[in-house]
Subunit: 311 residues, 2 copies
């Protein structure tokens, strides 16, 4: 099968670090064009535009990966779908849940593929954790997602604006693993959101969850103020005594204290393998569960003001 001719819209850090090299290394894709407001022109692309509308005019472009900040994704994705292009959406897939619902409906209407990507789900350790937990009753869940925002988001002011998600920008990665591995859905029961006095998005969050069969002891702690060692761990314990721990953002898995998976993350390789399948079979994949949990966490969240944060 001829490779999919693809475009990238938005050439920020994630596009440069992941999408460009991963597309280059995957023979099922050919990067035809990019659109960058700043006018970046990577060597890998045949065409470079400042205005994404120009990219959408190229008939050979079958699909686009939208890697802009989430606030503008909905309009770009709509325009792409209406121009007959399939769409891969970086996480989070839109600025709001209503925008994502709209894209889901529009993709079905125009017969094109929309693919919401949650990169943390594409780890072998996550897949193995899902298999290990299938069918069991969960007793305990502890998500600890603590990182240094100064290191990981240097100068990214949009994450601190209202609608920029704050600590849920990394936290949604953890939630996307939780919704993937848990054998039954979790629901947010309480949420405490810490807003720095000078910011419109939370720097830390503490969530507790329930499941339909009862409470359990289920919680998540997100914090963006972690210096020194960074922590991206998910611990799960079943009623029957199985204990499992995902570490390093979901790339390593211990079961019963024994390391069973330890891999360098190759998340975006998995994303583009899946995108190839979806394009070939003309199927959309819209997983809104992680995003919905974030909406819920804000909706039921108790706001706590904490000291101002300067980068």
């Amino acid at each position: 099968m001829a490779p999919h001719q693809i475009g990238i819209i938005g050439l920020g850090k994630i596009a440069q670090d992941q999408h460009l090299p991963v597309i280059k290394a995957n023979p099922d894709f050919e990067l035809l064009a990019v659109a960058s407001q700043r006018g970046l022109q990577p060597d890998e692309a045949k065409y470079s535009f400042q205005d994404y509308q120009d990219l959408l005019k190229i008939p050979e472009v079958e699909a686009v990966s939208i890697c802009t900040p989430p606030q503008v994704r909905h309009q770009i994705a709509r325009d792409a779908l209406l121009a007959g292009k399939s769409v891969l959406l970086e996480k989070p897939p839109a600025a709001t849940l209503s925008e994502l619902e709209d894209l889901k409906e529009l993709a079905a209407k125009v017969g094109k593929v929309v693919f919401t990507t949650w990169h943390a789900q594409y780890n072998k350790a996550v897949e193995e954790a899902k298999k290990a937990l299938a069918g069991w009753t969960i007793k305990r869940l502890l998500v600890t997602w603590k990182e240094d925002v100064r290191h990981w988001h240097p100068g990214q002011q949009w994450i601190w604006q209202a609608g920029g998600f704050g600590v849920f920008d990394p936290g949604i990665n953890a939630l996307s693993i939780v919704t993937r591995i848990m054998p039954e859905p979790v629901f947010i029961k309480t949420s405490s959101l810490e807003f720095p006095a000078n910011r419109d998005a939370p720097i830390a969050a503490h969530l507790t969850f329930s499941m339909s069969h009862g409470q359990g002891d289920l919680e998540a702690i997100f914090d963006w103020r972690q210096t020194g060692p960074q922590t991206w761990d998910i611990e799960v314990e079943t009623e029957a005594g199985l204990s499992l721990k995902l570490t390093h953002g979901g790339s390593c898995l211990e079961i019963g204290g024994r390391q069973v998976v330890q891999e360098e993350p190759r998340e975006y390789e998995g994303i583009y393998r899946r995108f190839d399948e979806l394009l070939n079979t003309r199927q959309s994949e819209v997983d809104d569960a992680p995003f919905r949990l974030v909406g819920d966490a804000f909706m039921v969240g108790k706001r706590v003001q904490v000291e101002a944060f300067e980068d």
Copy 2:
């Protein structure tokens, strides 16, 4: 057809003011049982229980109306569906969007009806407004929903808790009219939420919206501090110059300055007519659009602290 034997779970203000008399007056329903934690025993019901689980054990009960505060609706609705009962949900249908999604999936699985009710949608004026706007491009939307919380929610502490929705408890009625009458979806662009210093839910909100074809001039103002005349108005103007105004919470409609509908609200009569149809045809009706907009408003909301509020 024999009347539907029905139960009511939760006998607070809305159940007493609306559900009890409306069911009594509708020959398609027969109130068989109620469950009230406070032990209320209305004359209309054959059986009264404190524990809703006892109500669910009555085989003749075909369906239940869940009128408790939203925080406990999900668990009760799950138990009802699993006991083989269809479910009518007061607004908002659950505490979180994930809970509602779960009920939607469970109802489909067990083959029972779930019905999310948005009472403000059941006004003749709302239906006429929808017809008048169909197919037109909207230029302007102004929602003004200002009421006196002390009058309408005396002593209801749960509305002020985190997850109690605050001013979105009435505001969601306005949003349910907006999603019903607008010829295309609206998306929340900005949201400003005013939290009293001593409360965990907003007392006022200012929302701006976009549509997929562009910005327009679309906004909503919710305020719970209105004394004197109360305002529940929605004004809409189309590009072509049609101007329309719903007043009195959606029960009166002016088009081009002329009053075309003026009716006492008979919202719950409409709700139970619709529930009868859904039960007879075994169809669920889950409209999550108004609830999703509330989640979005919290998620992208800028929090502003205002003076403490005492009832």
